[in-house]
Symmetry: C2
Subunit: 235 residues, 2 copies
DNA sequence: CCTCATTTGTACGTATGTATC
DNA sequence: TGATACATACGTACAAATGAG
């Protein structure tokens, strides 16, 4: 049932090793031939896993040389898609739940229309504030269809990335998406949460994220005060 | 010499057809089996081309059903990587060259350090202003290493996407990158180019883009006034 | 400069599983 | 239920780039 395909097992294992820092940036992964032996799979299987790591930004490949480790994605990875792990695995970054996941009805999500089956399923909605060194950096609102996510509330959104939870618990992975970016002035609510003065420039990000599960989208809206550091992402 | 691998030929042809609107959004591409027959290639070759189209956001795949065309990426595709074509193929979007490509020396690019071989090669630098319906929407600065780009100045940056030119003329494709986003207040120069009042919130984007050519990066800085429309991208 | 082993890139064929309609 | 379509997986072969000698 919940068995992962072999290429995903290899992917998850290598990804874990890289994220855990077992390879320094610039190191070479074992060659494809060696990986085949280690995991007892054929080369196309290993290559598929490596392709994933490339598109996730964990490695680069170079013909005749090998697979070069780029290291765990750095920064506040809100813009990186599958690499958002780093956002919450960073030791000095914490998450404060402003509004715990609750069930709502919905017809639209941050200006994106929701699809009929999503509307029927209802909406899981929650709000979080992310802090870096106890300073608020961004405030985000998330909407998910309430379908096929048993025991979702049990999973610890304070300490785990949403995308990690969806990927490892429910086999839901991001396949693409659409985003809108705005620079706006802080309103009252943002002034309070992000601790900025009135009219301070704020980055706003609306995203509709597609997944491998047909008709299942993640909708999110993020506000970020970028004074000082900027919002970093790999892609 | 300049022969493309078969999977890239299939990719380019299908991409061209989708971008040209030969398929409506929601249409199915021919099945993998049919594509094999059409292009006289094996199924793994077709699948590799389709994988590319998926990761570029042109199609979605669904097991048992087929490859669903999502249509040409819409909006100002500054954030989409390989799909930036749309930005300049849009009929009402035009490009004004503020500063024609010129050769410079460089040691850093928008806060990103440049690598030694790039520094030795020198820097191609240019500035462009993009207009939508004759209204300025964003202002961008680009830096490229001056190596392996014969006759670069001849190619028409006013009417073609930079990424398209690099991909089709020089076989340089984007493999990933890092970006920093900021919300800032407009300074004097931005007030002039983007026609906004002093202190208006502006979106700033610094990017270091990696390519399949080792040691060749594209550095760009983009400023955008997002009042009204927002900056849209697919990923 | 050339040779050679290593490593990744491209391509084909085949087989089987699983989702969709 | 069956036909179709995509997903996964293995094996093979050769090409092209890299780096060591």
């Amino acid at each position: 049932m919940g068995n992962l395909p072999q290429y995903k097992q290899v992917y998850e294992e290598l990804r874990r090793q890289i994220a855990a820092g077992l390879f320094a940036a610039g190191d070479l992964l074992p060659s494809e031939h060696e990986l085949c032996a280690q995991y007892s799979v054929a080369r196309p299987t290993v290559r598929k896993a490596l392709d994933q790591l490339v598109s996730d930004g964990f490695i680069q490949k170079q013909q005749g040389k090998g697979s070069i480790v780029k290291g765990a994605p750095k920064g506040i990875g809100i813009l990186s898609l599958t690499g958002t792990t780093s956002a919450l695995s960073s030791p000095n970054l914490s998450t404060h739940i402003i509004l715990r996941p609750e069930l709502r009805s919905w017809t639209e999500a941050f200006s994106f229309p929701v699809e009929p089956q999503e509307q029927r399923a209802g909406c899981i909605y929650f709000e979080r504030l992310r802090l870096l060194d106890d300073e608020p950096v961004f405030f985000d609102l998330t909407m998910l269809p309430n379908s096929g996510l048993p025991r979702f509330e049990e999973y610890d959104l304070e300490n785990r990335s949403l995308f990690d939870t969806l990927r490892t618990r429910y086999q839901i992975v991001v396949t693409g998406g659409t985003q809108q970016l705005f620079a706006i002035r802080a309103d009252k609510r943002l002034q309070e949460y992000l601790k900025v003065r009135a009219g301070h420039p704020i980055l706003q990000l609306n995203r509709k994220i597609e997944t491998n599960r047909p008709g299942f989208h993640i909708y999110s809206q993020v506000f970020c005060a970028t004074q000082g550091y900027g919002l970093i992402g790999t892609f």
